[in-house]
Amino acid sequence: MSNSAPSKTVETFMYDDDIVKKFTIATLVWGGIAFLVGIIAALQLASWQLNFGTSWFTFGRLRPLHTNAAIFAFGGNAIFAGIYYSTQRLCKARLFNDTLSKIHFWGWQLIIVAAAVTLPLGLTQSKEYAELEWPIDIAITVIWVVFAVNFFGTLYRRRERHMYVAIWFYIATIITVAVLHIVNSIEIPVAWFQSYPVYAGVQDALVQWWYGHNAVAFFLTTPFLGLMYYFLPKAVNRPVYSYRLSIVHFWSLVFIYIWAGPHHLLYTALPDWAQTLGMVFSIMLWAPSWGGMINGLLTLRGSWDKVRTDPVLKFMVVALTFYGMATFEGPLLSIKSVSAVGHYTDWIIAHVHGGTLGWNGFLTFGMIYYLIPKLYRTELHSVRLANVHFWIGTVGMLMYLLAMYTSGFTQSMMLRAIDPISGKLVYPDFVETVVRIIPLYWVRAIGGVLYLIGFLVMCWNIFKTCRLAPKHLEAEVYRASKMTEESNEPKTAWHRRLEGLMPTFSVLVLVSILIGSVIEILPTLVAHTYTPANSGVVPYTALELAGRDLYVREGCYNCHSQMIRTLPEDVLRYGKASLPEDSMYDRPFQWGSKRTGPDLARIGGKYPDLWHYRHMLDPRSVVQNSIMPAYDWLFDKKTNFAILERKLEVMQSLGVPYTDEDVRNAAHAARAEAEIIAAGLTGDSPIKGLADREIIALIAYIQRLGKNSEKSEGKK
């Protein structure tokens, strides 16, 4: 690089393929678990009995486990395997440091195990795809930095001057994911596995969906595109259709993606201009995405006969097709009038699974069918079995999608139906619309089972392939000449110093972003600027806050939204559209993204306390066909009053207007309030110790929901 050794020094080197094997195996192990938990969650929606009345097994706690396992464990390990394999070959260099590779591997697996333990225990932030609590957040940051150093170190030592387009996709992934994760995870610890985000309400929502959307962009899209640009041409042994187009694809994608996040918040309390911005950028995304898909598919021109026989290509063609479908549907869904129909329904579930099962899953399977025979220097055990996998997987996926599209449209049409004469809702009972789609939930679950069966067939095939491998693989040694200056450039000393500074620059960019954000964040946090003065809205009482944290723990947001959109069907059903002050003290915000149950933004005061008491104990006792799980343990477990002082103190430090008196008196005040609610529930025959139970705190919180804007209205 910067030294001026004779230009044709030939060096020998070996690749680190052991780490690639490790990540590939981990992909298979976690993939199986992610799919299995997904199927369990799907079955729980079809049949509420499958929640088994066990706290750690309920839908609200399992669904985050499924999403995290699928994205970060299955997807993550697949990305690392593919990136480490292809980067070494594209750079003609061994990975930077074997120890870093090992730390990266074992660190990531430990993080996944920690997630698998904490999420069912209810240790969660309940922000979608960022549920993990602060110690794990820190671990993720550390391991990601290890990955970055290892990757950029490899680039620094490369023997191929030109960086192939796949490498660009990897660079964008590494830098952007780091920034997204850190910005969205700024939280103040309350206890070992509990914290409050520094952002509240609308602000938290915006940061979260800026993160959420870009996580899809930079964790599930850019790295997989990089893999596609490497493995597809390799598998078909033809150059990518247009290299120029791939470069255009890359740069336009990374510029536009960053701005599209607000499309998750259409018709909400987010300012209109931000919603429109999100919508416009989302629509612009359509062009580069389709450019990329077409580029991939045209790479196969003249080789379609190979697609018929080679399972690797089959999987990749379907993956690209689903990439095209999902990136067509995404911009469509971000158009306001389409979002009005699709948002909060199973349409979104269909959209997401088209992307994950089709694009991420099938691309990963194709990659693994390509990688394993290469890594073990043998042939695939059975092409027939791979074809079986392909067909079972495809059929399963189509069943899944068909069921969810139908369910989404059906429920949406029912929820939106307004009688033109009376102006009233045609289906005022939410549960009526749920009953209608339950059969589709069964179909979805069967589709998922098929997908899993296909996957297990692959695992067997891979296992047999590894067994076929020669026992002792002689390590391959490669030769390449050192990277040389290219002659068409002026070789000034200045230029030479800049050579190889790519990693340094990336780190500098990162550091400046981080310093910038800290400077940016601190003043807004310490100052009480989040709280509109004189809004008349008082913060949650200590007991309500305790109840809110239970709502967060149980993951109620997985089924309930707390955001009434400005649409007539929402307002008729749930009341006045949500205002920013409704969630101004909400850390984290709980607007939700899917309505399996009704919106709860204005549930406070709709029913008496006793209704909620009975409903939480056994939803079927008050709503006959409910599919909501029962929450019996809330009636046994005791509210942690002792921690409330600390909680209020943290909230106070974040600018919530609690007085010092409120903080000191938190536990006492909460107990007193709980006694009143308990007495109201039991009347003349008090139940001893009822006031201490968690259910009382939860009821206090539920009855508070929606009261904020009433107060601020009264003030005006």
């Binding site: 391959e476 450039e489 620059f505 910038g516």
Partner: protein, 58 residues
């Protein structure tokens, strides 16, 4: 909407970072040749072990 004050600079810095990376790398000739890289990636490095030559490696 104080949060915009935070998100906008971050988004701008990221976009700016990418813009910088683009200009910097094009100036260094990363995108001068948009034809051969696509072919070159198909070629594997020379293998040095005598015993492995011609075997089903990559």
């Amino acid at each position: 909407m104080n949060i915009i004050v935070l998100l906008l600079p971050i988004a701008l810095t990221l976009a700016g970072g990418f813009a910088f990376a683009f200009v910097y790398s094009s100036a260094r000739g990363q995108f001068d040749d948009l034809e051969t890289p696509a072919h070159r990636m198909l070629l594997d490095s020379d293998i040095a072990n005598e015993s492995l030559k011609g075997q089903p490696h990559e």
